[in-house]
Symmetry: C2
Subunit: 676 residues, 2 copies
């Protein structure tokens, strides 16, 4: 590991996104998702189950006030579960905690998305809304810094007694991410200070020192959140605490086995099996295979990558690389979706990638983006950026409708709506996006990722700007005392042209590291002739120069439709192919190709691809030569008949970008089509 | 419906099975399954969970005796569930009911198999064992005739209070089937009388008369059992009671909704959906599609067919035909397996026949055989016999190992052992047969079916003997005052030769109805020249003659390996084929073809089939020309790569009969192979 290669995201305040594609997505988040979310967490969405999130914070604050007024007051204790049903008449209710026990994160994810959005689109009204909500949230904090309304309202004697199931450290992680983002976006530190006080309390409770608790999060995220808090505050304790959580994980005897309060039975008798789900079966440095709940897993690995970099821990980096390779070469859908089974929203065994029962949770792809960016921060290797781009443009974006008003939690690669409605094994696969979810993790997660896409597109170190994704932007970079302005234009994702304009009022020595996407066989570049050095390494073109005045570099990555096959070990894709163009994976929909997509084949020898710009919902369609198998002339009543060579008729297949599927009503969809 | 076409099974006492193939299976049942079962239901299988079946009967008998001695004695009341865990030390336990609430059927299924076995192989020792057990069972019966140890032991006030879940009428049905079989086999009527007394009690409780309960079985079987009781006793009340259960089913308001004691929540809000599982969503004559628990369904339809015949009810027959067609043309695996999903062991939607997650419970295929035979009794139509044969030789026989010592509950058509071990979605698919099951329905059900196979091979009416299956046998048929002896020899299932020798000491007018199997394109017959009429109808050859002395008719149904394709609506079989020969469906196993069966294709244009007799475990193997897809020369680490025309190498595929799979250890298996 070479710290010279390290890099960090730029402050979003130093970037203005101008990209047509991404700007549109971010505007959806700003105008649709954020307001909807606000209404949701304030129980103001007619017809939707109330979140109770803000009501919980308010109640916790009221209880705090009551305790302060009367220190002898005995707060009642309630018995609660993972989900605490909200009564029908929410105004006529007991003073209790309602909703999922991680309901606090409805707010903390929202405020994170708000923060990013404010950097791109200042909005005093929205900021006021957030400030007022932060006041409510901070009033819920206990004197000692603890801030989780589930336990504050229910039973403070049980704090940190069930780390495995009860998401306290998960809620802390989201609070921290939101607080840091809001501070970085607005400079306001009220929520940041609350997060620090909570972190300090956690730090006093957990740690390697004798007498301290040796637990770690049941749902990871605190690991990477503490690193952000360390970056924002410079307080080493937060870094050490994150490292403690990572180092402690999976040690024997298992911490989770020492907890008394597990309402759900463990699944297996075998202790390592029992802890797979939480990635706690082995010390993290010994983990070779991504296991268990996919979101938990990639959140953990993201934190591990952060700590590996900041502590220059080679063994931890080795584990990250092994796990990265396992995911991306054995457990990832072509869309960047991960987590093949809905049972536990989890990874299964290598090469098990069923298309029609896929889970591929939106949040898991988002977590894969987190992990990729952190690996890139250690070393700019296009292997990471290629996967990051794949997940972002496909498995993540598919999670949100084109109008920003409905969402997928699950992102299958093949859908027969009838099966989703009638076959319980596929009930988790929704054939149409949903307005919101009781367990509302994916929509706010999309919101916070899309509104901070620049944090993934670019990283920097002292003298290098890394362009991982060609996202049209204007940004400034400081090099020594100089400030360089860089303007990027991009026709991605539907054309491969991009330009980088460097404006250096003072001559400034700087390296531009430009990613060469894996899907482009070659590329052409103009305007880089003046660079003092041009070097290609790990899928990046490094242009070093003393830039002066204006330089415009034009890049062209030719895009053509490609036919993709899966590793033969993927049984579900045997004899099938997919179509991709540039970073986008394409799919077939019933709306364009009729029903019974399983009877279609792509003419792989002569696909005769034609790209038709703006053909479907403003995006290009790819037309290709294919054939449709004719139903054999057998009696209607025959389920099995003697084989005859299949009869087919030529037809034109129409593909559209996968992420756009299901924006025209319910219908069949498939990414993989039979090779013909 | 024409009652002239009706037929009935012959008494097993008038048949001696001589068939090589079936004799072997029946001997396995006699020498392995029946003794094992006896040990199981007496808790004498080391290492297996105790059944507690006979202990429950004994305890019920003791409680009865105590009540008789002291009428004022208050029997304690216990709360119990579907399964009542047996304590580790079974000798040091409370006096309670243990095991599944339908544990009584462990005995009643056993005694049925014993009865059939005794007809073929008299065994005074076994008969004594059964007689003694029958004494124990009969001692458990209440004064009023009620006989279900779960309620006798636990709480008699709850009798018939939860018909939907608690299997009382199911236990009654199995008791009755066992009692009738034992009476018919041995002439002993003690158990039959107990069944009659119980039936009389049920008849006093349920019925159309005012004040009587309007319930019906939650798990069907009583319907067909009551018909057998009617045949054995001539008592019309039993026929009427069966008809009542069938007519009442599915009426609104739903009877099951009126029960108070349902420990499991109903699945849907929609009442018809809620009752799909029990085939109680609609009156049976209005049911068009086979739904819910597959075993329950075919048991019901079998009872419906019985009642349709005995009451000449055209509308009921119409429903049977509709449901038969739905199952066999839209919901049946090529093996005769039914019930595609393990969730509820149930039917799913039309053409949904996944191979690797199949349920295809052995008992469901057995129930399909029951249904088929009853449809044949109404009209000899080879459509029914073809399916019966398919299920029997494939989906049923696969349930038992070749040594009779282990069993499949689930019969998948494609198995990757790794997936069964590691993927919770396939935990129901066992890659290796099991010794026994806690819910021990399949092994005893196989035992009773195989030992009574002659009841399915032949039916008769006054002047006609129907040969539905060519099972080598010697049997006698009475025609008027004459007795004709008929000897059948058969080389089935691996060769299509059979002969029928008719010995008529007195000239006797009789029709032989010989099934022409659907898998034989043509056939040759010799020795039938003397028949006064030879007519082909509905897949049967009717030979009518006044038979005199000895006549030998030889039949030859040429068998050749066939390639079979599924209806294109079956998505999971698209682009795939199966191999069959005669009645047997074949499969590929890893033991003969190596791992990664999904990379193999059958050369459908020139399969170059060779049948190799006695090649695998005494059965023929079919060798065929195929190809194996080579792993592409891509880097090991690539999960997705640009498509290139696939490279294949020629290879020989080795198929073996499906029912024999997994008799050589764990490995991959598939019925459907890609067409190449």
């Amino acid at each position: 590991m070479d710290s010279k290669n390290f890099s960090n995201p730029l402050s979003l305040r130093d970037i203005r996104i101008t990209d047509d594609f991404w700007k549109k997505e971010m505007e959806l988040v700003r105008t649709e998702v954020i307001p909807y979310q606000w209404n949701a967490l304030n129980d103001n969405v007619p017809g939707a189950a109330p979140s109770f999130c803000m009501k919980n914070y308010r109640l916790a604050g009221e209880l705090n006030a009551r305790r302060r007024q009367d220190p002898s007051w005995q707060q009642p204790v309630w018995t609660t579960g993972i989900f605490n049903l909200v009564p029908e008449d929410i105004n006529n209710r007991e003073e209790r905690f309602y909703g999922f026990l991680f309901q606090d994160t409805d707010f903390t994810k929202w405020v994170e998305a708000v923060a990013y959005s404010l950097t791109q689109h200042p909005d005093p009204e929205l900021e006021k809304l957030a400030d007022d909500a932060i006041d409510v949230v901070c009033a819920a904090q206990l004197e000692n810094g603890y801030l989780d309304t589930f336990y504050i309202i229910n039973d403070q004697s049980k704090i940190f007694s069930n780390l495995r199931d009860n998401h306290e450290l998960y809620c802390f992680g989201h609070l921290t991410e939101g607080a840091v983002a809001y501070y970085e976006a607005t400079g306001k530190d009220k929520l940041l200070k609350a997060a620090c006080r909570y972190a300090d309390y956690i730090d006093s409770f957990f740690g390697p020192e004798e007498g301290k608790c040796k637990g770690y999060p049941g749902h990871e995220i605190a690991e990477m959140a503490l690193v952000r808090l360390y970056h924002a505050t410079g307080n080493d304790r937060y870094l050490a605490l994150s490292r403690f959580f990572i180092d402690e994980r999976g040690k024997q005897p298992y911490y989770f086995d020492t907890e008394v309060d597990h309402p759900f039975e463990a699944k297996g008798e075998n202790p390592p099996l029992r802890h797979f789900y939480h990635q706690a079966h082995l010390p993290v440095r010994e983990q070779k295979e991504a296991t268990g709940h996919a979101v938990r897993a990639v959140y953990l690995y993201s934190g591990m990558a952060d700590i590996a970099r900041l502590t220059q821990d080679e063994s931890l980096l080795g584990a990250c690389e092994t796990l990265w390779n396992n995911i991306t070469t054995q457990k990832m859908y072509i869309t960047g979706g991960i987590g093949s089974t809905h049972l536990g929203e989890a990874f299964t065994f290598n090469y098990d990638l069923p298309n029609d029962t896929a889970y591929a949770e939106t949040c898991a792809s988002i977590g894969l983006v987190f992990f990729a960016r952190r690996m890139l921060q250690i070393k700019a290797d296009a292997r990471y950026a290629n996967v990051m781009e794949r997940a972002l443009f496909n498995g993540v974006l598919s999670g949100m409708a084109l109008d920003g008003k409905s969402f997928f939690y699950v992102n299958p690669l093949e859908v027969l709506p009838k099966a989703c409605h009638e076959d319980e094994r596929k009930f988790h696969v929704k054939p149409i996006r949903q307005k919101w979810f009781g367990c509302a993790c994916c929509p706010p997660n999309i919101a916070r990722l899309l509104s901070s896409v620049a944090s993934y597109a670019f990283t920097e170190n002292e003298d290098t700007l890394f362009v991982h994704l060609y996202v049209g932007s204007e940004l400034t970079k400081k090099v020594g005392d100089n400030t360089v302005t860089i303007s990027i234009t991009s026709e991605f994702p539907y054309a491969g042209k991009a330009s980088v304009r460097i404006s250096a009022p003072e001559p400034t020595g700087m390296t531009l590291a430009l990613r060469l996407p894996d899907w482009a066989e070659d590329y052409s570049i103009k305007g880089a002739e003046g660079a003092s050095s041009a070097e290609t390494r790990d899928g990046y073109l490094y242009l070093t120069s003393t830039w002066s005045g204006e330089t415009v570099i034009s890049l062209d990555f030719p895009m053509r439709p490609r036919i993709i096959a899966a590793n033969p070990a993927v049984r579900e894709d045997a004899g099938k192919v997919a179509v991709a163009c540039g970073p986008m994976i394409y799919c077939l929909e019933e709306a364009d190709n009729g029903a019974d997509l399983h009877l279609l084949s792509l003419n792989c020898a002569e696909p005769d691809f034609r790209v038709c710009p703006d053909a479907i919902l403003g995006a290009p369609a790819i037309k290709a030569a294919g054939s449709r198998r004719k139903p054999q002339e057998v009696s209607d009543t025959s389920l099995y008949h003697e084989y005859r060579a299949p009869e087919t008729e030529a037809c034109t297949l129409t593909f559209l970008p996968y992420y756009m599927w299901n924006n025209r009503g319910e219908g069949e969809m498939t990414v993989w089509v039979r090779e013909g």
